[in-house]
Structures are given as structure tokens and as C-alpha cells.
Symmetry: C2
Subunit: 292 residues, 2 copies
Amino acid sequence: MFKQYCQERCKLIDQQLAKLMQSNNVHEAVIFDAMQYSLFAGGKRLRPLLLMAAADAVGGNGQKYLRIACGLEMIHTYSLIHDDLPAMDNDDYRRGKLTNHKVFGEGIAILAGDGLLTHAFDVMLSQTEVKPSRLIQVIREISNAAGPCGMVGGQAVDLVSEGKILDHETVKFMHQAKTGALFKAAIRAGALLSDTDDVKLAALTKFADCFGLAFQITDDILDVVGNQDKIGKPIGSDIRNQKATYVTLYSLEEAQKMARQVVDEALDTLRGFGPEAEMLRNFITYLLAREN
Amino acid sequence: MFKQYCQERCKLIDQQLAKLMQSNNVHEAVIFDAMQYSLFAGGKRLRPLLLMAAADAVGGNGQKYLRIACGLEMIHTYSLIHDDLPAMDNDDYRRGKLTNHKVFGEGIAILAGDGLLTHAFDVMLSQTEVKPSRLIQVIREISNAAGPCGMVGGQAVDLVSEGKILDHETVKFMHQAKTGALFKAAIRAGALLSDTDDVKLAALTKFADCFGLAFQITDDILDVVGNQDKIGKPIGSDIRNQKATYVTLYSLEEAQKMARQVVDEALDTLRGFGPEAEMLRNFITYLLAREN
């Protein structure tokens, strides 16, 4: 049932994304081609799905906020294109496909990222059925999570820390900013767009923190025990690059135990929610079994 | 008087930008340092000044919209950082200073651009004293002008056209998208934020088109007859890079004549405006005399 739910919602998201990615003329096609390539390269649409599931969890209708959901996916995709660049992680493959700069060249890949990020804001600002002041609040949360105090800031710390031994506090900031912040914004956006009350918003905020942490721990575990074909890139890169991960800082067993604990904690924050939060529960449980 | 007006407004803009560029902790300082470097590297603040002058021209108060104005400058600055990268124009100097990647390295320069672009939206969305629905409309115009259908799209065409002979229509799209679109958004934003009527908005839109064109022509002229010290980078780069410019497509004299004609046309669109549009008139006349 969870799988079917995800498939159906992914179809909606992909259809909307395809509509939002049409160029108006031959000149614009240059950049839209490169943007489309990465946007339709097998992403799991996790952030849009979480936004929708959070809206459902507070009694809203997640499908109403498809444009904000798509904007989140565009922001996530831009970050992957830039992360893969030679000046950053220098990856040739992602999800088993050539990275954007390997296909289109570095210059166009930089611009494809810029284009996705900028277009994401236009798309999100075009969301209807939301009070304008609420829309502004939600998009500010998303820009904060994606910007220099969030994702971009975390990536910068990661970049300047290469080859250095980091203290625990820096590693925590880095993970929270790089990946946790956007998950949190996605989940809070779903709740805020549905005009939830403060108690439920606080619970979902805590759930989101757990989700980000569980995602990071299971990501680190996958880099050690994952299946290369399913992940779509070589495993063991964290160890080769001497990165501080939950597996290297603790141990594989300890990390697996921590992941289970954080997932239990997340499920606990949803105790006051009814069956409408079932998909959100499924999402966090799925992290323990994920293969990519 | 025009000079003093610009100096006073630039001071306001710079003070606001400085406030908006403060990091909250040592981790965020990594990215904010790189963002600040380019933001305070001698920019003329032309786009924020134009937004304010357009608001004044329709009887509004330009100084009220300082945050949107600063957002425009942040978007402009991000585009310069990315344009200067080795994978793009590969420039070592801008305005007489080392470019961002020469100081901070390519990876951080890419992220500094990403950070400025993302932060710009948060800053613009925090503009008060504007009806939320109007704010959304204005920021959508700006994101359109900066995105794949505007600045980023124009830059992509420029990049894939290197060394090719372009038809007139492609050159026109490229210029309009690369530089004209953001000027137009700045001027229209000032008018829209001040709740102007359709007649004045149409006049200012035409003025903005002329401004973008006059800026491009005078930019091409400066690349031939400009003073290297005042521009802050070597002149003659368009000819060396075999770029299609108004000087290479026509002649220096012809380009100078065209610039004067476009400026006259722009002044003509402001005929129905009173003394409150005087600064806008000054801005377009200044293009004919600009040295950088």
C-alpha cells in the first residue's frame, strides 16, 4: 500500500514537473534540456512526498500543494548538480547515470543548477489555494533551509573541511545544514500550508529532526553495506575520502542501533496523530530498510 | 545633484546589505565571507537604484523597498561570480579586484553564488509595507527575469555560441535575456510596488527596454574605447573572443549614434512624467557618459 501510494504521488509530481519544464523557444531549450536531464534522472521525490504526507498528517490535502512540492525537488536537484561538479565532489555518475557536467559540460551544468534554483522560486510563488501571507512564510522557511544558513552553508563547511579531523559539533552542524534543513522545511511546509495548530506543528518539527538524522545515519550505513548497482555509484567513498560518518565515528552495529532508536523516537512524536499520519510513519520506517 | 542622490542611496543600500550579510556562527562564516567579498567589491548598485528611481517616478517612495532592492543586487552579484568561473568566462579580475574563485577557490565561489541567489529570495520575501499578493507578483517577475527564461537562459546561449557566427535574432535574445531582463524587472518592480496605473507601468516598461538596450550598446562601446583602469579589466576582450557586439556588427560611430537614439527614445517615454522622474532621466542619460 505504501509503495502504491508513493508511485501514484510520484506520477502526479512527475507530470507537474514535466509541465513546469517546458521552454518557450529554441533559445531557452539550451538550458531547459540540461535542467530536465537531471530532474528526470531517477530521483525518489522524497522531499515532495514528505511535504504531501505532512499535509495529510494534520488533516490537510497534500495534493493541493504540488507546486511547492515540485519547487523542493528542483532545489534538491540543483544541489546535486553543483555537488557533482569537478570543483566539488567530482562525481562522474549519479543514480547510475552520467552526471550533468559529464553530459553538458561544466559551464552549462553550473547554469542548469542556477536555472533550477531560480525557477523553483517562481514555481513555488505560483502556488494557488494558499493565503499569500502564508505562502510567503513557507517559502521563506524553504529559502532559509536551502541557503547560506542551511544547505549551502553546510556544503561550504564540508568543502573546507576535506582532510581535516572535525569536532562532533561541526559534524552535527554540517549534516543538519546539508540535508536535515531541507527535509525539515518540507515537512513543516506541509503542516503550515494546511494551517495546522502549534501542538501538531511542534510534533512534526521534532519528527522532521529525527527524519533528517535517521536519513543521515542510514546514508552512512549504505555507503558501507549498500549494493553498488542499487545506489548507482561506488560504495566506500566516505572511507576513501576520510569523511567523518556515523559508521566511522562509532561502528556499523552502533550506527544501526542508533538509526533504530531515532526512528522509534520519531514514531513516538506521532503518537497523538491518527491514521492520517500513517504515510509519514511509513516514510521514517522505510529509512531502516532502504537500499538507495 | 544626481551624483549626490546616488551616493546617498548607495549608502542606504550598503548599510542594509551589510545587515543582511551577517552570519550567526563560525560555521556559517565560511560561506558569508565569500558572499560578502563579492557583494562589497565596488558594484555600482545600478539595479537597486533603478528600482528606487522608478518607484519615485510614479509618485511612490523608493526608499521603502530597500529589501527588494538589495535582493536584486545579490542576484546580480551571484551572476557575476558564476560568470567569472573558469568553466564560464574564466576571468581573474573584476572591477580591479581578484574574482571570487581566485580568492576562495572554485568550489566556494560556486557556493557563494548559490548562497547569494537563495538568500536574495529570503531577503525579498521579508519586505514589509507591501500587500502580500503584490509582493508575490513582483518577486515572480524578478525570478522570471533571473531564471532560465531570462538571465540564466541568455548566459547558456552565450556559452554554447562561443566561436559561432550568430544571427541577429539570437544576439538580440541573448542580450535581452542576459542583461535587459533584470533591468526591466527592477524598473517594473519599483512601479508595481508603488501601485502605479497601467499607463505609467506601460511607459516605464518601454523605458526599461530602452535602458537595457542602451546599456548593452554602451557596454560594447566601452570594451573598445574604455579606460582599462576605470573598467577594472582589460579592454578589447569582445574582439579577442570574437563576440558579436554592436561595435563589431556595425561600427563605433554607428553604435554611438544608436546609443544616442535609444536614449532619446527612452526620454520620450517619460514625457508624461513630472519632476519626480528626473532621476530616472538622469540614469539613462548617464549611460552615454559612463566610464565603467
